[in-house]
Symmetry: C2
Subunit: 433 residues, 2 copies
C-alpha cells in the first residue's frame, strides 16, 4: 500500500491537463461530482464503499521519477506539464456521503472542489475505487438482509483479481458481512478472518478419518470439518467419531442444500452433536441464501457472487464537471446536453427526508452554487478531505469500523420495500430542487 497511484489514470486526463495548462483554463476553480445515473439491475438502493481507501490512494497520487520518465519517453505531455506534475499534490476539498451510506440515482456521492487541473486528473482513480467497492457493498447488503441475522462470511478472493479481492472483503464487511477468508484484508483493514480446510486436505490423507484427526489435533474440537469429499453421511459419522459431539461445525460445499441441510441437522442431532453448527458455501448468492431461510443453516459463506457484485460488478458511477468559475469570478453550472447522457449541472447539497418514525421518504438534492439550505432531513455530506488533508476518522481500519456502523444506521432508516430482492424502482425518489 505504498506505491504511487498516479498512473492509475486514463491518458486523456493528462492530455486535457496539458491543453488547459497551455491555454490558462487549468486554474479555473471547478466542482466535479460523482453520481450514478441509475442503480444497477433494478436494485432498490446502493451502498457507498471505497471512500476511506480512496482518500489514502489520493494521498499517494504523486508523480515520481518512474512515472515522469515514462511520460517523457512516451511524449504524453509537454515538458512544462511534466514539471507541473512533478509538484502535484491534491490541495482541494472533497465532500461526500459517508462510507457505508446508502444512495440512489443522482445522489451526489462525492464532490471534488479544486482548480480544474487538480481535479480532472483524479477521475479514473476516484471512479475505479467507488465503482467497484460500491458494487460489492451493494450486493453484499442484499445478502446480509437475506441471511436475516445469521452470520455470513466472504470467501470469494479466488474469483476476483488479487488486489480487488482485498477491497471486496472490505466492502462486504462494511455492508455487514461478519468475516472473511482473506488474510490481507485481516491485516490491513482489521477484518476478522476464518477458514479451516479444503477438499485437498482430505484427499492428501490416506483416509478421511486421518485428515479429520489431524485437523482436530491442530485446531481443537471447536474446528469446522468439511464433510463432503466422499459421502456426506459417512463424513459426518466420521467427524463426530473423531471429534466427539463437541465438534464446532461441519461445512457443506456441494449438493442440493435445502434438502441436504435438514438431513445433516437430523444426523448430527441423532449423534448427540446438537451444538455442532452447519455452514454452507456452495455457490451462494442472495437468492440461494433466501431459499435457505427455513433450513437449519447456522452460517453462510459466499464467494463468486459477492466479489462479482452478483450480476452487477460495477456500480456505473460517473465523474462529471458540474460547475466552474469563469475568468470573471462567477460560478456557472455546466452539463453535457446531448442525447441519452444529460446530467444536472451545479454544486449539490443532498438531504435525506425522514418521516416522524425516522423512516426515509425521499432523497432531496438541492442544486446550488453557494450554501446549503436548512432542512428537516438528515444532511448527507461530510467533509472527507479539506485542503488536501484527509479526515483521519475515515481512513484505515478505524474508518472501516465507522463505515460499518454507519451502514447499519442508514439501512435501518430504509422503508421495508427497499429489501425486496426482485428488480424494481429505487426505494426512494431523488428530487432535484
Amino acid at each position: 500500500m505504498t506505491g504511487s497511484t498516479a498512473l492509475l489514470t486514463d491518458r486523456y486526463e493528462l492530455t486535457m491537463l496539458d491543453a488547459s495548462l497551455a491555454d490558462g483554463t487549468y486554474a479555473r476553480e471547478s466542482v466535479f461530482e460523482v453520481f450514478g445515473r441509475r442503480l444497477p439491475l433494478g436494485r432498490r438502493y446502493g451502498v457507498v464503499a471505497g471512500t476511506g481507501r480512496l482518500l489514502e490512494l489520493i494521498n499517494r497520487f504523486r508523480f515520481g521519477d518512474a512515472e515522469l520518465d515514462w511520460l517523457r519517453a512516451e511524449h504524453v505531455v509537454s515538458a512544462h506539464t511534466l514539471d507541473w506534475l512533478a509538484d502535484y499534490r491534491f490541495t482541494g476539498t472533497i465532500t461526500g456521503y459517508r462510507e457505508g451510506e446508502v444512495y440512489f440515482p443522482g445522489s451526489p456521492i462525492l464532490t471534488v472542489e479544486a482548480p480544474f487541473a487538480e481535479g480532472v486528473i483524479l477521475e479514473t482513480l476516484v471512479l475505479s475505487v467507488l465503482n467497484y467497492d460500491s458494487a460489492i457493498a451493494t450486493a453484499a447488503s442484499r445478502m446480509v438482509h437475506a441471511a436475516a441475522g445469521r452470520p455470513i462470511a466472504e470467501m470469494g478472493s479466488r474469483r476476483a483479481n488479487e488486489d480487488a479481492a482485498v477491497a471486496a472483503t472490505r466492502a462486504a464487511f462494511i455492508a455487514g458481512f461478519s468475516a472473511s477468508s482473506n488474510l490481507e484484508a485481516g491485516r490491513v483493514w482489521g477484518i476478522p478472518t476464518m477458514g479451516t480446510a479444503a477438499h485437498a486436505f482430505t484427499l492428501l490423507h490416506d483416509t478421511e478419518e486421518e485428515a479429520f484427526r489431524s485437523q482436530v489435533a491442530a485446531m481443537g474440537v471447536g474446528t469446522t470439518l468439511l464433510v463432503d469429499t466422499y459421502d456426506v453421511a459417512e463424513g459426518i459419522e466420521t467427524a463426530i467419531r473423531v471429534a466427539g459431539p463437541e465438534l464446532g461445525g461441519v461445512r457443506l460445499d456441494s449438493g442440493d442444500l435445502p434438502k441436504l441441510v435438514g438431513k445433516v441437522r437430523a444426523q448430527l442431532d441423532a449423534l448427540g452433536a446438537t451444538g455442532t453448527k452447519i455452514t454452507v458455501t456452495n455457490d451462494l448468492d442472495e437468492y440461494a441464501i433466501a431459499a435457505l431461510s427455513a433450513s437449519p443453516v447456522d452460517s453462510y459463506g459466499v464467494g463468486t457472487s459477492l466479489v462479482t457484485g452478483s450480476g452487477a460488478p460495477a456500480a456505473g458511477m460517473v465523474y462529471k464537471l458540474v460547475a466552474h468559475k469563469t475568468d470573471e469570478g462567477e460560478w456557472i453550472p455546466v452539463a453535457k446536453k446531448s442525447d441519452g447522457k444529460a446530467s444536472v449541472g451545479g454544486r449539490k447539497v443532498p438531504i435525506r427526508h425522514l418521516d416522524s418514525s425516522g423512516t426515509a421518504t425521499a432523497e432531496v438534492v438541492h442544486v446550488l452554487t453557494t450554501r446549503p439550505p436548512r432542512d428537516a432531513g438528515r444532511e448527507l455530506l461530510v467533509t472527507l478531505m479539506a485542503d488536501g488533508e484527509a479526515d483521519a476518522s475515515f481512513v484505515g481500519a478505524g474508518g472501516v469500523a465507522a463505515a460499518r456502523l454507519h451502514n447499519a444506521k442508514a439501512i435501518d432508516e430504509l422503508p421495508e420495500e427497499a429489501f425486496r430482492l426482485g428488480a424494481g424502482d429505487p426505494a426512494l425518489h431523488t428530487l432535484f430542487v
Copy 2:
C-alpha cells in the same frame, strides 16, 4: 509491483499447512491442477491470461516481518509453522498452457508440482490471477472478432478496481485489443496508450470552439475531438472549422450509434474531411460492436463490458489436488467424489488435435501419472517455472507480446463455429483418455 503477495491467501490454506506440518503429510509430493468445469455463459472457447503476471507474483510470495507478525498476533498458525513460512520460497515446477492459449472445459490450464505444503498455499493467488485475467481475455477475444479487423481500444479502467484495471488492460491486449487508456498498463506492460479529451474539457471552456482550438493547439490536427457535448452536427462543423479537413478523428460517446455514425460520415465527407476517422465509445460490448459492422466506424473504444468480462467477470477455474505420492513413494490420483463437483484425478497431458488443414478438432487430455504420450496433435503444456525459477520468456512486457502473438495463432486454429456470439456448446469437445 514490489510488495509481498503472501497474504493474498485464504486462511484455510495456512491452517491446512499447519495441520500437515504437524502430521507429516506436508512433504508428500503433490500435483495441483487448475481447470474450469465449464466455459462461462455458453461461450465457445476461453482464453488463458494472467500466467506471466502470476509467475512474478509467485516470486513475491514471501513472508516478511509484517506478514509473520500479524499471523502471530492473530494466532492463525503455530510457532513452528511461522518458522516454516519465514523460509518459504516456492521451489516446485509449474507447467501449463501458454498465456494466450485457448482452452475448453476440463483443459488442465496450469499444473503445480511440489510438496503439498508448498503448493497448497498458492491456491488463492493462482486462482485470483487466472480467473480474472482469463475472464477478461475471453470476453475481449469475442469483441476483437466482432470488430472484424477494426482497431479496438480498452477504456474501462474506471469501471474496475484500480489494480484489476491494469490487469484487464493487459488481458485485453493479449486477446488482440490494439491499445488502452490506462497509463500504468503502458508503463508496466508496454501496451500502447491513447486518449485525448472528455466532456469536462469542453465544459470547462466558454465555448466548444475554444475547447477545440485549445486541444488542436496542444495536440495538433491529428487529434480526435469529442463532438457530442452539445449538438453533434454543430460539434462536427466546429471541429472541421477549427482543425480543417485534416482533423485526425471525431469521437461519439452517446446517441443511437448505428444511425448516428452514417450521418456523421456523410457530414464529414461533405466538409471535405474524408480522411477524418470516426471512433465510437458508448457502452459497447461484442453485440453492439457486431451491430455496427455495416456502419462506417473506424475504431471502437470499450469500457465497462470489457473489464467486467461482458457478463462473466470470473472464469470459474478451480485449483485441485489431483495426485500425490504416498509414504511408499507411489503416485496415486485423487478426486472429490460427492455430488455435483466431481473431477478427474491424476496428472494430465493435453493435446490439441488438428485436421490436415490445421483446424482444431478436439481437446484430448491424457490422464497419466508418469510421462506424456506421443501424439499427432499440438502439445499444449510448456514449462513455466522449473525448480521455482520462472522462464523469463513468459514474464514482463516481453511475455505479454509473446502471449499476444500466441493467442493470434491459437485463435486461427479454431473452427468457424467458435466465433458465434450466441450461447452454445464449446467449439471443441474435451476427451479424457
